[in-house]
């Protein structure tokens, strides 16, 4: 068993700053370990996690008891619960990350300039990533492994409901790290439920956190975006739209809208608002609405939509701004692609936006003018996922405009440096 993690002190600020310093030191060792060293470390973390199943389940039982006492909802309790199979599936997810290509050291570009200098842009780790998350205990391992795959150290802050589970998992990861000869402090978990710890992380721990990744509900992410003094990679809301154009293929429109809304309603890439071209609303909306209703979806429409499908509820201004994450969809009739772009520009959250049309020029216009991380033509918004994009794993979907957008995989957790090779050049 590795050394235990730091113990909380009365002086939270000092504890947190010391974590930052240790993380920075560990991140340098990770960068030096090379691809193979990092791969071996992730594999060792997986083995140690597998081996610690008993300890992890015991810790999880404590969290479940606490959750019960706190009256957590069944959904929350389910998210919190670990089983032997779930622990092994977390370990398997680590093994899968170990197989992913390691982006560090890759040349993004290389060219020669007239002075004869050979200039290469080479991927490097970001450094230290702070991850703040809520109930799901698997995030502890998943996020740490993805940070590792790109040479970054991680400072993790788990939700208070899952803290015991997270400590047990982090201890296992650190045991694995130590057995692979890497510094344990490349993975550190905040050991207190004190919410002030989040505040310290958001100020960057004296420059020792390079980026914050929030994973959780709206309240958490809003606090992060509000207080963070370091860059944040993450998304606040996924209020995704599907626009059915006048030139859409009817059956494709029905199939995609139902899938985009109903495949899983609780994920950020699910469609929340259906926009339909007035040119086809009368002919196509009834069939789409019937298919949605058959799938168990409640509909809320604007006046034009309700004049075509009268048994919809009324959609108010608030509905255009609501990420339901539930089997509810708002429906608005718009004036062609221009109306769709205007609505999305006003209400979209830069996550994922979709157009269904057979008209290539209309699709191009939508693709060019919509400002979002992911713009989809003729496919379901539920494809907004790093795995579906071929990235292997993702730490989340980014909706900001800096550094990364869309699914954030190992490659997006890197930055670059310029390597300049000369032969004695002095600048005139």
């Amino acid at each position: 068993m590795a050394d235990t993690l730091h113990t909380p002190t009365d002086d939270l600020r000092d504890t947190m700053l010391a974590m930052g310093t240790r993380a920075r030191t560990a991140s340098a060792a990770l960068a030096k370990a090379g691809r193979d060293g990092r791969t071996r470390a992730i594999q060792a973390m997986a083995e140690a996690l597998s081996a610690a199943e008993t300890e992890i389940l015991a810790a999880n039982a404590e969290d479940l008891e606490g959750g019960k006492a706190k009256g957590l909802s069944d959904a929350m309790m389910d998210r919190l619960a670990l089983t032997p199979a779930r622990v092994q599936s977390i370990a398997n997810a680590l093994r899968a990350v170990a197989e992913l290509p390691d982006p560090v050291g890759s040349e993004i570009a290389r060219w020669t300039v007239p002075s004869g200098l050979d200039i290469a842009r080479v991927r490097t780790p970001l450094g230290v990533i702070g991850i703040i998350y809520e109930a799901r205990p698997n995030v502890t391992a998943d996020a740490a492994a993805l940070c590792f795959r790109s040479g970054n150290a991680a400072i993790l802050r788990a939700g208070s409901e899952s803290l015991n589970s997270a400590i047990a998992i982090a201890n296992a990861l650190r045991t694995g790290l130590a057995s692979a000869g890497l510094p344990e402090d490349a993975v550190q978990l905040v050991q207190t439920k004190d919410r002030a710890a989040v505040g310290h992380m958001l100020t960057g721990l004296n420059g020792n956190i390079d980026v914050i990744v929030p994973r959780g509900g709206k309240g958490l992410v809003a606090r992060v975006q509000d207080e963070a003094r370091v860059p944040v990679i993450g998304h606040l809301e996924g209020l995704c739209h599907t626009y059915v154009d006048g030139a859409a293929a009817s059956q494709m429109a029905i199939d995609i809208v139902v899938n985009a809304k109903m495949r899983r309603t609780g994920i950020c890439g699910s469609t929340e608002t259906l926009l339909i071209d007035q040119a086809v609303a009368e002919t196509l909306l009834p069939a789409i609405a019937a298919a949605l209703a058959d799938a168990g979806c409640a509909l809320k429409g604007d006046d034009a939509a309700r004049s075509i499908v009268p048994d919809m509820d009324v959609a108010t201004e608030a509905d255009w701004r609501t990420e339901y994450l539930a089997p509810i969809i708002s429906v608005r009739v718009v004036d062609g692609v221009e109306g769709a772009i205007a609505h999305i520009t006003e209400y979209g959250t830069s996550h994922t936006e979709c157009i269904i049309t057979e008209n290539a020029a209309t699709a191009d216009r939508f693709i060019n003018e919509i400002d979002a991380g992911i713009v989809i033509h003729n496919a379901s918004t539920q494809y907004a996922d790093g795995g579906e994009f071929g990235m292997g794993a993702e730490i989340g979907i980014a909706t900001g405009r800096i550094h990364a957008r869309g699914p954030v995989g190992a490659e997006q957790l890197t930055i670059f440096k310029y390597v300049v090779r000369g032969s004695g050049q002095t600048r005139p």
Copy 2:
């Protein structure tokens, strides 16, 4: 002449927020204008600037008078002063930016996934860039043009000493924009000397500034890094090192060190500290020191350096942390590349670091382990410049770890979106 810019109101906050809203609207128009539209706009800005020479010089005369009354140093007055030739050279710099490739819309990568989706990562503008700068009036035009070349709107905050010049230049740019049929509000200049305006910009104007670029001295940049709630692309300090390895070619070492320190001492890429391997310090340091002294450079050394070249001043701990920006260099004898890396890791500012060696393995180790925007082997640190890197123009050198590092040109002022093209895919 275009409409005049907004006039300051008593309520600075409202004025600033309104600027942000207008900038966001204008940025959408810029993105839609396409490459050719943006090129024509930059050309029109150049013509309008050329034509406004008289107005600009008159405004500059006011600034010069103000500067004289304020007792600005000769160096500051020179930086502030415009002449007919300088105005035309600013216009020519705009014409050069108009010739640069426009990165927006370029495909960075494109691949197909097993579901049949065709996924492309495509460059898009960042959106709205806030630029905060000091005395040099040319920044108003240079920075605005580079933002434009990548489809971004700009909110500019000039130094109070150059405000009249900046207003005249910004008015000319806006006239050019209007004549090219683009919204003038794509370039807005803060019209007040009130320093609170900077504070408003640093909070992001309700999400309407996507990134802040500070260009100026340490005080400005420190304030920006301290207060900014939006990402910052820029550098705090350029405390660059040149390390002369035991396996360095002697004459190359002498030439590069003198150039790296003395070509221009006031730029961020100039070398401030010379690190020399103890293996060659006795044989090589006297010649390097003599060449530096001949070039007019004062030397400050540690004990080991002074035991070899006794007529150096003493370098203290503070010297290792000082960006002189003057003909002064600190000198330290280190224990090989490991000692050099340790010193740079402790004192470097992630700007530009150089090794001089004929040993490829030593160079590789330095390149891999040094964490800086630019790592140079066998060439002068004074090459740290977007022009020398073939970028055509730069808005500055970034030393952060997020989004961009090293010289920041038009390409680094973009982000990307994913364009997903399907044929009706619904996710299983």
